[in-house]
Each structure stands twice: as structure tokens, then as C-alpha cells.
């Protein structure tokens, strides 16, 4: 008995040591700088932009309409992520989700319900694999999730917008001089996020590249840092954000695609799309859109806010 107890203590000690080693391993992982968390900084400017955005007239929301359902419920059910740097990222300390997509959802909720508190938007986690389905079965009212408008998707859901025009760019280590444009990616190991349209851009523009798909931005950054990947290809704003916190990286060349982002809505409710497009037109016109850009994407991209894209200017919108 005594022997077996001692044995157990010893195993416990070994397990504890292993756990400690594993944990330190994780801590080492953290040597890659964490992505910037807008929520950790002062978000008062961001909050003011949302509070200053327009509110719909009662006449704009007919009884029984898509917007009326949201108004009666008192909150907008938004499909999206809470792990997207710059666009929709949760601050683990406060639980608040901020970013360009999150801010637009908050503005739309404010427009419909008049509320700006945290309860005005309920976030339902969606992934690329579930977005269309969750819109179709009305689990969510709308999807704000760096959702690139494509024609196959537009056969399943309606897209309001485009509300943002992004582009796929290339990031490499600073000492890499071999990769200067998308044409240099052939035969290279190229990391990207499994759930991004950058995968499609690579198939089209660099079919000879050996594409490595990882689940999130942090994994792609680690793969690039550790040399598993020669380049990391993704939305330019997200790469700029990575490069701004990690000085061993640089972006090369100009974005090689145009990615129009849209707001995913039910296909069988054209009035909902019209309503959201009307709202987008209002926030374009009164400057709320540009102010939100300045508070989010504008923190890593220099210069003034771009001109918002023209509504309906893309096939599928």
C-alpha cells in the first residue's frame, strides 16, 4: 500500500513537471506578439462613432418587416466571428467585440432599435462552413464577417453592399528577397487561413504555389515565422496589422485581388436587402462609415478613409 501511494505521488510529480513544460511551451508561443486588440485600448472614440450614427424614422420600418422583427426583439442577431483582428475581435478582459464589422453591426442595431448597449447585438459564431445555412434557416438576421461577395454565394443568400473593398496581399520575412509579387509564389510554401477567399485567389493567381491552410491568423504568423511557409497571403489590412506588431515581417507588392465585402441577408426577403442598402447609403453620406474605418482599419492603414464602394457595384450584390 505504502509503495503504491509513493508511486502515485511520484507519478503526480512527473505529470506536474510535464504540465509545467507544456505550459512553458505555450508561453514561448506567445513570443509572437499578440494581435492588436482594439478593445484593450480606449474604445470611447469607437463608441462615440456608433452612438453618433443615424437612427431610422418609425416610417422606415413597416410592421412585420425584417427590420421590425429586430426592433420588436430589441436586438440584432449577427452572424460573425470574435477572432478576426481589426474586423471583429473580442477583448477577453471585457468581453466586448469591436472592429469594423462589429462596429457596422452595432450601427445597424442602433439604426433599428435606437440602442447602443452591448445587448443590442447578439453575436452568433459563424464559420465559412456555416454562414449560408445560418442565414437561410434564419438563425441569424445578418452576417457581418469579412464576407466576400461571390456569385455562387449570391445564389444562396442576398448581399447588401459592398460596404468595404479589400485586397489580398503578400507578407514575407524581411530578409526574403526572392518573393516580390504574386508571380514569385510558384513552387513556394504559402500559408493562408483555411476559411478565407485568399485560398481562391491563390488558386487563380498562383496555381503552382504549395498552399498550406491553417485555421487562424496566429497559426499562419507562426508558420511564417518558423519557416514552414515562405509567404503568408491574406487580406491586406490584417497583414498590415500583423506586420505592425511584428517587425520581422514586411508586405511586398500591391494587393493582387479585389475583395468586396457584403452583408449576408436572406435571399427570400428583398425588402431586407433594400433596407440595409438604404442604411449603408445613410452612413456613407453622414460620415459614420469613414469615422468607423478611422477607428478600426485606419489604426494600421495610414491616410484618410477611402471612398466607400458603390452599392450594388459587384456581381452578386
Amino acid at each position: 500500500m505504502v509503495r503504491s501511494q509513493r508511486w502515485r505521488v511520484r507519478v503526480g510529480a512527473i505529470l506536474a513537471t510535464t504540465a509545467a513544460l507544456v505550459l512553458t511551451g505555450c508561453a514561448d508561443q506567445g513570443s509572437a506578439p499578440p494581435p492588436p486588440v482594439p478593445g484593450q485600448a480606449d474604445t470611447s472614440g469607437y463608441d462615440q462613432v456608433i452612438a453618433g450614427s443615424p437612427v431610422a424614422d418609425a416610417a422606415a420600418i413597416p410592421a412585420g418587416s425584417w427590420a421590425d422583427t429586430i426592433k420588436q426583439r430589441g436586438r440584432l442577431i449577427r452572424g460573425g466571428t470574435d477572432q478576426g483582428a481589426l474586423f471583429s475581435l473580442k477583448d477577453p478582459a471585457t468581453g466586448k467585440v469591436t472592429g469594423f464589422d462589429a462596429g457596422l453591426a452595432a450601427m445597424l442595431a442602433h439604426y433599428i432599435t435606437g440602442k447602443t448597449d452591448a445587448d443590442a447585438v447578439e453575436l452568433v459564431a459563424t464559420t465559412v462552413d456555416t454562414r449560408e445555412t445560418l442565414i437561410q434557416n434564419k438563425t441569424v438576421d445578418a452576417v457581418f464577417a469579412t464576407y466576400t461577395i461571390t456569385e455562387p454565394r449570391a445564389q444562396k443568400v442576398a448581399f447588401a453592399g459592398p460596404y468595404y473593398e479589400s485586397g489580398t496581399s503578400i507578407m514575407v520575412k524581411k530578409d526574403n528577397t526572392a518573393i516580390n509579387s504574386v508571380n514569385d509564389l510558384a513552387g513556394r510554401n504559402v500559408a493562408t487561413e483555411a476559411n478565407s477567399t485568399a485560398v481562391l485567389a491563390l488558386q487563380q493567381f498562383a496555381p503552382q504555389a504549395n498552399v498550406l491552410l491553417f485555421q487562424d491568423d496566429a497559426s499562419c504568423v507562426a508558420a511564417l515565422q518558423q519557416g514552414r511557409a515562405d509567404a503568408y497571403v491574406l487580406d491586406e489590412a490584417i497583414l498590415l496589422s500583423d506586420a505592425s506588431t511584428n517587425p520581422v515581417f514586411k508586405l511586398v507588392g500591391q494587393p493582387f485581388t479585389k475583395e468586396p465585402y457584403g452583408i449576408g441577408l436572406p435571399l427570400d426577403d428583398p425588402a431586407a436587402k433594400q433596407f440595409v442598402n438604404d442604411w449603408l447609403q445613410k452612413i456613407y453620406a453622414d460620415g459614420s462609415w469613414a469615422k468607423l474605418w478611422k477607428e478600426t482599419v485606419g489604426t494600421v492603414v495610414s491616410g484618410d478613409a477611402p471612398t466607400p464602394p458603390t452599392l450594388g457595384s459587384v456581381a452578386g450584390s
Binding site: R10, T18, C26, D129, T133, A191, N195, L213, A222
Partner: protein
């Protein structure tokens, strides 16, 4: 389902990677797991400890955690293996803990009197394992090993999270092109089902053969 027929070669390539991961992972687990089980029943205490610690650490950690630690953790200490090698090694290392326990469980079903009898006849430890204990023990191991095989087949889908271009990973890519998530995942789910069913059928056949008609 045009997207499936148009990209059949791409999907089958992913299936091949899944099968490679499964075979390497399972065979590796059988070899390592059997060695560990021998450790755990051996008369040498330090070997028993090594076996026990290995099993308790690997069995009680999510496979995804292990994959991430190996793929993104080891390069930080200067050990970089290809994504496929890392994933196959993780699958083998992970499943070995379960194989070890299945083999040890099988060994324990053989009455201790048989081992004592073998020893009293002058068999060495290895001889008594090889000729007296393992043959009857193997019968009771077949079904647990089939379960582990199925675990390896399904667990291989986690390799998609660390960039291995296997079936699940390629299904995700096709969904990006086509926005046909439900249909595509039904197809890949059916493929996993077929692999697991075939594994189960092979296990059943093997069990009938080794049990010599004594199967209940």
C-alpha cells in the same frame, strides 16, 4: 453536386492523404503501443513507470492540443518536421497510449496461473508472452483495437487544422469555391463512415478467425 464531380481528383487526393495518415498512425500506434504494454507488464519497475507515465500523459490530452504543440511548439526549440510527418507522428503517439491499454487489458484477461505455469516450465518472460499469454490475449484485443482504428480515422480530420491537405481540409477549400457546405460535408462524412465501417468489418472477420468458432 457538380462541385464534387468536378473536383473528384482533388477530393480523392485528400482521401489518399487521410488513408496515409490513418495507416501510418495506426500501424505506428500498434508497434509503439505493444512495446509500451510490454513495458507495463514487465518485471522491471522503471519500465513500468515509463509506460504508465506515457499512457497517462498522452491519453489525457486532446489530440488537437498535441498537434498544435508539435507543429507550432517544436520549431521553437529547433525541431521542424513537415506538416504531414508531424501529424502522422502525433496520431501514432496519441493512439499508442490507447493501444497500450487495449493490449495490457488483453494480457490481463489471461489467468495469472498460466503465466506462473509457463515460468515454472522454465519459459523466459519473452517466451511466456510469445507462446502462452499473447495468443489467447489477442482475441480479446481485437474489438478494442477496432475502436482505436476508428478513432484514428476520425481523428485524422484534426490534421486539417494544422494545414495538412487531407479530406476535411480539401472539403473546406471546395466549400469556399462553391458555398455548398452541407452537401460537401455530407459527402466527406460518408467517406469517413465507409472507411470506419470497412475497418470494423475487417476487425470482425479477424475476430472470427482468431476465436476459432468460440465467438459469442
Amino acid at each position: 453536386m457538380r462541385v464534387v464531380t468536378d473536383n473528384l481528383g482533388f477530393l480523392l487526393g485528400g482521401l489518399l492523404v487521410t488513408l496515409e495518415l490513418t495507416v501510418l498512425g495506426f500501424v505506428g500506434a500498434l508497434l509503439l503501443g505493444t512495446v509500451l504494454a510490454v513495458f507495463r507488464v514487465s518485471p522491471i519497475a522503471p519500465l513500468r513507470w515509463v509506460g504508465a507515465v506515457y499512457v497517462e500523459v498522452l491519453r489525457n490530452m486532446p489530440l488537437l492540443t498535441l498537434l498544435i504543440l508539435v507543429v507550432f511548439g517544436l520549431p521553437d526549440v529547433g525541431l521542424t518536421f513537415s506538416l504531414f510527418t508531424s501529424a502522422a507522428a502525433c496520431m501514432a503517439a496519441f493512439a499508442a497510449a490507447f493501444v497500450c491499454e487495449a493490449v495490457r487489458g488483453g494480457i490481463n484477461t489471461v489467468p495469472v496461473g498460466q503465466a506462473e505455469a509457463a515460468r515454472s516450465l522454465g519459459f523466459t518472460f519473452t517466451q511466456s508472452l510469445r507462446y502462452v499469454i499473447l495468443p489467447p490475449a489477442f482475441r480479446t484485443m481485437v474489438q478494442p483495437l477496432v475502436n482505436i482504428f476508428i478513432g484514428v480515422v476520425l481523428g485524422s480530420s484534426l490534421a486539417s487544422a494544422v494545414g495538412v491537405s487531407e479530406l476535411t481540409n480539401r472539403t473546406q477549400v471546395l466549400n469556399l469555391q462553391s458555398a455548398e457546405a452541407v452537401g460537401l460535408f455530407l459527402v466527406s462524412g460518408a467517406i469517413y463512415l465507409v472507411i470506419a465501417l470497412l475497418g470494423g468489418a475487417a476487425g470482425g472477420a479477424l475476430e472470427r478467425r482468431v476465436s476459432g468458432g468460440r465467438l459469442r
